[in-house]
């Protein structure tokens, strides 16, 4: 590969793709401007032998499929986009409803690709791609055990809120329909009208006589608020008396009334749809003279088995279209129809808990990152004690399912019309309602880190702390790598693991050493050493083995009760409150690990301190840093003292952050017995090493692993030519970058061994100040 513009992480990604056991080759590596890179990976798809002989499966998947990965310039902060060849059959389930450069986009995972990337690395993305292709080839993307995947409608602008269970309850054995009231707000945009509406519960008598009083578009300042009807239709039975069942998955393709009729025909309810559309025409021809109104149609499609996550086999497919008054009023076949997203209504339940705080003191300035379930809960806990965050950062919007655990509850009035508002705004409102004004930043925390100006606004240097409750590994990496002139306040991280079995709180040390990234690596080391915490580390591996493809492909939902989440959120709130009252540690960083016992009731926390880490830089890279944890540092010092007058060494263990370009050396393993020490060189032996590394890696669930080697220099000398030669041989043997750490009397230095770094060594794009 010629020296190209892409960053080292992309260079490494290309190497990794080629190493995937199902990838035969990569081709067409092209720069896509601004450091972005596009690569085509040729996947070997394991077809059943008869199909392999034919070169493709009956479902149109070839024995060799070219998958395109488009890496953005800020990879690995953002994930590569994945697309298939242009003529790949789009009528597969688990296919995105949109194209990318004319190419179909597979939906390979039930979580956003960026989350998969940060949880399992690019290997996880590649593995999911391979599994997706396998299932597409065998037409097994829909798994009856998992359930029918509803037609993808999650990227639609128009939204209909309706009680799904109530709608399904309307469906009878015979073909039929009902009219329900439809209340909506409509916004005119440059792309046309966008509607957010709520379908009522009680059927209405839709007659000519009621039309004049019932339909009411009310123009407001910016929006139209209106009342109209929602037509719900469902299929009946075949001539043979069997229920009409739609076995075929087909992506949403309705754009007009004709298309809606075709869709209804597939579902088996075209007769009812036709008669009711003409009824709407006739009814409105007489009595209605107002502004254009929006009408909703909900097709109820009967599937062969239950839908994912629910017991019913009825899929709800809502649409909206507009009619303007005319006499006579006609709804021609070409009338535009827009598929709408369906949001379920909320069943009101008690989500809120009261916790008092009668302590009164000055409100401290602090910034909360993440207004999700943990963030909102902690914010409200603290708001109730008079210590609400003064700044809140979050770029996501509220959805009905968030209500299951989010601290905020919706309002009774116009409840269903208020979804899609930003979490940060709603949280700011709630905090303000408790008498504590806050500033909201509807932005991605990563975006803030990239600008000094935005940093100053979001977390002034005088702030008490920045509390990261995003649960996002990429945010952790960005904060960890942010220099102190961008991010002066210490970072406190709050996170849950393994479906709420474990919780983690870390607090950075003075001058942000240890950093939030150091503390995470140390937490892994603590868990590896504590039998009752070790399961926390095994999550990623288990998910790799059991992850199913896409459950509706919407958002990943951690299965956990509100109470479980609150157990941790309460502790986290208390931990913050305690430190606000009594101050942060002046000597060290802190790690608090909580675990729920097998009784599901007891929550036990342990608290550990981490002294500042030793910081070094490799001699052959401007961008990588070395951070040696105290335990490893002390072990190295002991080993050097035990071998006066000769060079000695051993194996280093820890983790690599590709995003923050950091090696965290958490532990060292002893040199094998067949190592050779002399005044001029140290030769690391091999006896027993492979077994030792395997046990160490497995014990830590591969969160901590061999990073390379360390050895001592008797003087403060730079790496020798021998060291450089060894680094080169190490670089070729592994996919992750390796480190040859050198302990000199004047501190740590070393060599990064990385096949990618030799071609590319430039500052990370997200971290402009990471220079000499």
């Amino acid at each position: 590969m010629a020296r190209s513009k892409h960053n080292d992480a992309i260079a490494r990604a290309l190497l990794l793709i080629q190493r995937h056991p199902q990838v035969e080759a990569i081709q067409n590596v092209t720069a896509a401007g601004e450091g972005a890179t596009v690569v085509d990976a040729v996947f070997k798809v394991n077809l059943a032998s008869e199909w392999r002989a034919a070169g493709q499966s009956p479902y149109g998947v070839f024995a060799r499929e070219v998958v395109r990965y488009s890496f953005p310039s800020n990879y690995p902060f953002d994930a590569p986009a994945i697309s298939l060849r242009e003529d790949f059959d789009r009528r597969r389930p688990h296919m995105q409803p949109f194209l990318r450069d004319g190419r179909p986009v597979p939906c390979i995972s039930d979580q956003p690709i960026v989350d998969l990337l940060h949880a399992q690395g690019l290997a996880g993305v590649l593995n999911q791609t391979a599994v997706w292709l396998d299932r597409a080839a065998a037409n097994e993307l829909i798994d009856p055990a998992q359930g029918w995947e509803p037609t993808r409608r999650d990227s639609l602008d128009d939204v209909i809120t309706a009680d799904a269970a109530a709608l399904r309850h309307l469906v009878r054995r015979n073909e039929g329909h009902v009219f329900l009231p439809f209340e909506y707000v409509a916004i005119e945009t440059q792309h046309g009208r966008v509607v957010s509406g709520a379908v009522g519960a009680e059927p209405i008598a839709f007659k000519r006589e009621t039309v004049p009083t019932f339909f009411e578009p009310i123009p407001l300042a910016e929006v139209v608020r209106g009342q109209s009807v929602a037509l719900v239709v469902w299929p009946g039975k075949t001539a043979a008396g069997e229920s009409v069942i739609s076995h075929e998955y087909s992506p949403e393709d309705v754009t007009d009334i004709a298309g809606l009729r075709r869709r209804a025909a597939i579902a088996g309810c075209e007769t009812t749809l036709a008669s009711q559309i003409s009824w709407i025409e006739r009814s409105l021809s007489r009595g209605y003279n107002g502004a254009p109104i929006t009408i909703a149609v909900v097709l109820c499609v009967r599937r062969p088995f239950h839908l994912i996550g629910i017991e019913s086999d009825i899929e709800l497919c809502p649409y909206v279209f507009e009619v303007a008054p005319a006499r006579p009023l006609r709804i021609p076949e070409s009338t535009p129809v827009r598929p709408a997203a369906h949001h379920d209504v909320l069943t009101v339940s008690l989500l809120q808990r009261m916790s008092g705080d009668d302590h009164s003191s000055e409100r401290v300035e602090w910034t909360l990152l993440g207004a999700g379930s943990i963030g909102s809960k902690v914010a409200i806990h603290l708001a109730r004690t008079g210590h609400a965050p003064t700044r809140v950062v979050d770029n996501r919007v509220m959805r009905p399912h968030n209500a299951a655990r989010h601290a905020l509850i919706p309002r009774k009035q116009h409840r269903e019309l208020l979804w899609n508002r930003r979490k940060v705004t709603l949280l700011e409102d709630a905090i303000a309602a408790l008498g504590q004004p806050a500033t909201s930043f509807p932005e991605d925390a990563i975006h803030i880190v990239q600008s000094a100006e935005r940093c100053r606004r979001a977390w002034p240097a005088s702030s008490w702390a920045v509390v990261n409750a995003t649960g996002s590994l990429r945010v952790r990496e960005a904060l960890s790598g942010a220099p102190i002139d961008r991010l002066a306040p210490r970072v406190v991280e709050l996170a849950l693991f393994s479906q709420g079995k474990f919780g983690l709180i870390t607090v950075e040390g003075p001058n942000r050493n240890p950093s939030t990234g150091d503390l995470a690596a140390e937490a892994y080391a603590i868990c590896a050493a504590e039998p009752h915490l070790r399961a926390m580390l095994q999550t990623a591996e288990r998910e790799l083995n059991t992850r199913s493809i896409g459950e509706g492909c919407g958002s990943t939902t951690m299965v956990m009760s509100d109470g479980r989440l609150s157990m941790f959120a309460a502790s986290m709130g208390e931990a913050i409150l305690h430190r606000q009252r009594f101050g942060l540690s002046t000597a060290a960083g802190e790690i608090l690990l909580g675990a729920v016992a097998d009784d599901d009731v007891s929550l036990h926390w342990i608290t550990k301190q981490l002294q500042p880490v030793e910081v070094g830089r490799p001699d052959n890279s401007r961008i990588w840093r070395i951070r040696v944890h105290p335990r490893a540092h002390e072990a190295i010092a002991r080993e050097i003292a035990a071998w006066p007058g000769v060079e000695t060494g051993g194996i280093i263990v820890g983790r690599v952050s590709e995003a923050a370009r950091t090696f965290n050396v958490t532990d060292v393993l002893p040199a094998p017995a067949d190592s050779i020490r002399s005044a001029s060189q140290f030769v690391l032996g091999t006896e027993g090493v492979r077994k030792m590394l395997k046990e160490q890696g497995e014990g830590a669930g591969w969160t901590l692993y061999c990073l390379g080697t360390w050895h001592s220099h008797l003087g403060a000398t730079p790496p020798s030519n021998l060291d450089r030669a060894t680094a080169s041989s190490v670089a070729l043997a592994r996919l992750t970058p390796s480190l040859l750490l050198i302990a000199t009397p004047a501190g740590y230095r070393g060599l990064v061994a990385d096949p990618a770094i030799e071609a590319v060594d430039q500052p990370p794009l997200d971290n402009a100040s990471a220079v000499e």
């Binding site: 199902q22 059943a48 290997a123 030769v683 077994k691 590394l693 041989s729």
Partner: protein
């Protein structure tokens, strides 16, 4: 639900695990040495790979439903005593945690005494002792045996020593579905060899070596479809056996059909020819009948040679010449030939039997592959 067939990376040797849709497991041969028992050995730890694929019973014992020793050569039974429980079930000990064999599948060879032609390694002797123990137990209890005492004899003994054992005997040519005493609807197995004794003294002679090898054709259900995939496994059977099979089945070739073939004797030339590969090379003559017996491919059939990487030399097995023959056979079926030593020397080569047939299992990239030690621990690393 799918069935799986796993070929473990044992170099020249056989070790194959079949997991049926019913959940039952059939292990054919083992070769567990080096890696598993010596931490410094760099061979793949096949014992660990096997154990990861098995489940434990209510008593906490890892088990296989059936273990078949195709014939008593070391490269088919190495590690039996170290890794498998032999002896009465009650003597299984948690501390040893050995794999429990619910039912032993043995050839009638166990009734013969070791002879000059047939010296047995210790693991093979131990297998024979265990088989005889189970037969004795069957006789003593009048057939009322349970897990760990069950045995199935594949093929009748020519000297009549199996005559009173019809309840646990499968005669050559028969089709059976009984595994560990129960009917299993997810598989039917045809016992193709050992072949009955021949009257032709010369032919009988040729069979002295590897003559006893068991040959099975397994019709395995996948995705709820019966016989979705056919797997033919041939132990170390040599050319005379395959010739005799062709003569027996040339008018009933269904019995020899396969989607997946495990080449006999680690891709040995002697399964296809009487000539020596190293002496005659390309001049060596292939037996038409033996080749026919091994060519009953179904469309797209895969042929697997469980052996070291095959290079163009005089070695046998694996033989470069045999590889060429198998490549031709698979190419005629639009299929493929895979050598475990070339394709998958570190991990098991695995296949899945689904409703659409047999396909190679997709490999994923795991943590160890990405972040393992790399060069560290493999070679001495000098530092200046």
């Amino acid at each position: 639900m799918t069935a799986t067939i796993s070929f473990f990376p044992v170099g020249n040797g056989d070790m194959t695990l079949i997991k049926l849709e019913s959940g039952r497991t059939i292990l054919v041969d083992i070769k567990i040495c080096g890696g598993a028992d010596d931490p410094e050995d760099t061979k793949p730890d096949v014992a660990k790979m096997l154990r990861e694929r098995l489940t434990r019973d209510a008593d906490g014992r890892l088990f296989v439903d059936a273990f078949l020793l195709s014939h008593p050569d070391e490269d088919h039974c190495a590690g039996l005593r170290n890794h498998f429980h032999l002896g009465p079930p009650a003597e299984w000990a948690k501390t040893d945690d050995k794999i429990f064999i619910r039912e032993l599948w043995s050839s009638p060879m166990v009734f013969r005494r070791a002879s000059k032609e047939m010296t047995l390694v210790e693991d093979a002797t131990a297998f024979n002792a265990e088989a005889r123990r189970r037969v004795q137990r069957f006789r003593a209890t009048g057939g009322q045996v349970t897990d760990g005492d069950r045995i199935l004899i594949l093929g009748e003994d020519e000297n009549g020593k199996t005559d009173d054992l019809s309840a646990i005997l499968v005669t050559t040519g028969a089709v059976f579905s009984r595994i560990n005493g129960q009917m299993d609807s997810t598989v039917t197995i045809r016992l193709l060899a050992p072949r009955p004794k021949s009257d032709d003294a010369q032919e009988e002679d040729r069979r002295v070596k590897n003559q006893s090898s068991t040959i099975l054709q397994l019709a395995i259900a996948g995705g709820g479809v019966a016989a979705a995939g056919k797997f033919l496994t041939g132990g170390d059977a040599e050319v005379a056996i395959w010739e005799s099979l062709w003569q027996a089945y040339k008018n009933q070739t269904d019995a020899l059909k396969y989607n997946l073939l495990q080449t006999p004797h680690h891709c040995s030339w002697h399964s296809l020819s009487y000539d020596s590969w190293s002496e005659y090379r390309e001049e060596a003559e292939v037996s038409e009948d033996a080749r026919n017996a091994l060519s009953q491919t179904l469309t797209g059939a895969t042929i697997v040679a469980s052996c070291n990487a095959i290079v163009d030399d005089d070695n046998d097995p694996p033989s470069f010449g045999a590889k060429g023959e198998y490549e031709k056979i698979s190419a005629n079926a639009n299929g493929e030939f895979i050598c475990t030593g070339d394709d998958s020397p570190e991990d098991p080569l695995e296949f899945e039997v689904g409703r659409d047939g047999i396909r190679k299992k997709t490999k994923l990239l795991g943590g160890p592959a990405i972040v393992g030690g790399g060069a560290v621990g493999r070679d001495p690393l000098p530092h200046g």
